[in-house]
């Protein structure tokens, strides 16, 4: 099945290309249609507080990880360990900041940030090395590292105790990463998490579209062997996508820590599935070879809007997973059916 998908996407004819466009457009239309209905039915949906301060801000951190995940999945890979990586990064961030707090904020914050990014990159590199260089199945590797990383966080926190920086002033300083923003007119502004997201998004677009690295990622997802024969160092490129994803997890951890002023080993359970679902709903296929960052953002927004609407319309908590699951299933099924028709 995998080879089949790869062959399909490897032949990137003009027809397939416009089909992709159509698919992305259909999800975008669905997203906008939902918003239209919502703005008629609920007076609190289309407000700055709901759309920017709530929907976008809450989507930002997880969106950054979804961008990293998109690189992996375009390259035909998969990563279940992102939530655990975020947890380890946030624990390291809080603990190192607490440890460095006697040195003052000017030292503690940058050094702790550096350490966090380093940890994210190392964890990504562990996944990448095992998958790309040794050739173990990505599902198996990241399933194991998901458990291992979560366990490491539990060990670091002494069995899961909530971690907090004891120096309250320093803690407040760090909140800047969540509370600050770019002021616009009339007392509203764009919150920091969204700004961070936009920067990562811009860098991601540059990497994927305008560098050789980005083209190689598509090539590997399309047909790894062909890419290898064409002289691409597929091992290195694949490993790098995991490193990149680890890096995005570290950035997300910064936002999460600023948001909660704490880090806990039990947080973010099941977030990897939200991340993977956004990438898939956006239109990046499981086999890789096509897709893109904008698509992922649309996919993530669709999921978040659905979630937001369930709250706006006060749907009982037990129905929410069913509704969310069904909508993802419908989107993906329609995609498969349309593709089948398109290919014959």
């Amino acid at each position: 099945m995998t080879t089949d998908v790869r062959k399909q996407s490897a032949g990137r004819t003009k027809g397939a290309h416009s089909f992709r466009k159509f698919q992305q457009a259909s999800i975008l239309i669905l997203l906008v249609a939902l918003c239209v209905v919502a703005s008629f039915r609920s007076s609190t949906f289309l407000t700055w507080t709901n759309i920017v301060d709530n929907l976008f801000t809450n989507a930002a951190a997880i969106g950054i990880v979804a961008l990293g995940m998109t690189f992996i999945m375009i390259g035909g890979g998969f990563d279940l360990s992102v939530a655990s990586t975020i947890v380890v990064c946030s624990v390291v961030l809080v603990m190192s900041m607490d440890w460095l707090s006697p040195q003052g904020a000017a030292v503690a914050i940058p050094v702790a940030l550096l350490l966090t990014v380093l940890v994210g990159v190392i964890l990504g590199a562990i996944n990448g090395t095992l998958i790309a260089y040794i050739g173990v199945n990505p599902f198996v590797v990241t399933l194991c590292t998901m458990l291992i990383f979560r366990g490491i966080a539990q060990i670091l926190t002494g069995g899961g105790q909530t971690q907090q920086v004891h120096d309250i002033l320093l803690r407040r300083r760090f909140d800047w990463f969540y509370d600050a923003g770019l002021p616009l007119w009339g007392g509203v502004g764009i919150p920091m998490p969204i700004l961070i997201f936009l920067v990562v998004f811009a860098v991601g677009i540059y990497l994927l579209r305008f560098t050789r690295f980005g083209h190689y990622v598509y090539a590997i997802g399309g047909n790894e062997e062909a890419a290898w024969l064409a002289g691409v160092n597929t091992h290195r490129i694949k490993a790098l996508t995991y490193v990149l994803c680890g890096f995005t997890c570290a950035i997300a951890a910064v936002i999460f820590v600023a948001k909660t002023e704490t880090a806990g080993a039990e947080s973010h359970m099941g977030k990897e599935l939200v991340v993977i679902a956004s990438v898939i709903v956006g239109g990046t296929p499981l086999g890789g070879g096509s897709g893109g960052l904008t698509a992922t953002v649309i996919g993530l927004l669709l999921l978040r809007v659905i979630d937001n609407l369930l709250t706006q319309f006060n749907i009982g908590p037990e129905y929410r997973p069913v509704v969310t699951g069904l909508i993802i299933l419908v989107v993906v099924t329609v995609d498969v059916l349309a593709k089948r028709r398109g290919s014959t």
Binding site: A25, V32, V36, R41, L46, N50, N58, Q161, T262
Partner: protein, 310 residues
């Protein structure tokens, strides 16, 4: 061509949305309460039933969200409540430190907060606390155990997720009660991880490891029952087991003599109390800082008097 159509559709949609937004401005709506909790145990389901029922009686709308024990998710849900412009929020804080930020966000949005069942760390403002007096309830259970054991012997403790409010209160309660019974010693503390299965596996090992064991103190009825079943299978019915909660299953088990006792919590009443207080506050009444709901002891003697709420 295709992209043109898409562009037209999107433009029309956005225009419609902006127009629609203006049209559907405020009509007189019911008062809305946000109830942020978790639903991973029958206890919470019961609290939710109580809250929903009371809300219906008092004619207010209640939105219930499940944070699944994740404080980060709960803070996101707080953002959702602010965006939904609810009138008041009843909050079961998943963890006491991170939720300070969540309550601060509500403070900033000028939405009043009532804390339910668990505590939140200092640094934020809320109207009042209502809920089971977890510590007092645990003391009741620990005393039942101490008296049943005659004030001496080895005990083990199956504790809740480390660092959660009830875990801290219940562990402290046991430590405090043991101060009055110097001949009782706690020989092991094991996390039950919310699974009876884990308790059963651990209990088998512990029976081997501590042959002189004479008591089990479990943070929760489910785990007391699981531990007692293992003791019974191993022929160690002399081991006294207490839980806390007062579920129907537990009361039945106490009647049968499988378990020694428990302290009776009333989640439904907690849910009702929170909604009642919310409505009273919105009506302009001045509230006190704390409304505690007590937990009477249940043993074989009085088990017939209790029905169990979950």
């Amino acid at each position: 061509m295709l992209m043109k159509v898409v562009r037209v559709v999107l433009t029309v949609a956005v225009v419609v949305m902006l127009v629609g937004c203006r049209k559907s401005s405020d009509d007189t709506r019911k008062r809305e309460i946000g109830f942020l909790m978790t639903l991973d145990h029958p206890y919470w389901l019961n609290m939710r039933l109580g809250a929903q029922d009371e809300a219906q009686k008092l004619g207010v709308e209640v939105t219930i969200l499940n944070a699944k024990e994740d404080p980060v998710l709960q803070i996101e849900q707080i953002n959702e409540m602010i965006a939904k412009q609810v009138d008041i929020v009843c909050l079961v804080p998943m963890k006491k430190e991170p939720l300070v930020r969540g309550v601060q966000m509500l403070n900033r949005a000028k939405i009043p907060v009532i804390i339910v069942n668990r505590e939140v760390e200092a640094g934020c403002e809320y109207i009042c606390y209502t809920g089971t007096d977890t510590y007092a309830g645990a003391v009741v259970a620990a005393k039942i155990l101490a008296e049943a054991m005659g004030g001496k012997g080895q005990i083990i403790e199956f504790h809740q997720h480390l660092g959660t409010g009830p875990e801290v209160a219940r562990s402290q309660a046991l430590r405090d009660v043991l101060k009055d019974y110097p001949e009782m010693t706690s020989v092991a503390r094991i996390p039950h991880q919310g699974e009876r299965d884990i308790v059963k596996t651990e209990m088998q090992t512990l029976l081997q490891k501590f042959p002189n064991l004479s008591g089990v103190y479990a943070h929760g009825d489910n785990f007391a029952i699981a531990a007692a079943q293992v003791c019974k299978k191993a022929g160690r019915t002399d081991i006294k087991v207490v839980g806390m909660g007062g579920s129907r299953e537990m009361i039945e088990a106490i009647k049968q003599g499988l378990v020694t006792g428990t302290s009776y919590q009333q989640p439904e009443e907690e849910g009702r109390s929170a909604i009642r207080l919310a409505v009273r506050y919105l009506d302009g009444e001045k509230l006190e800082k704390s409304y505690l709901i007590g937990c009477p002891p249940i043993t074989k003697k009085n088990a017939d008097e209790f029905k169990g709420q979950f």
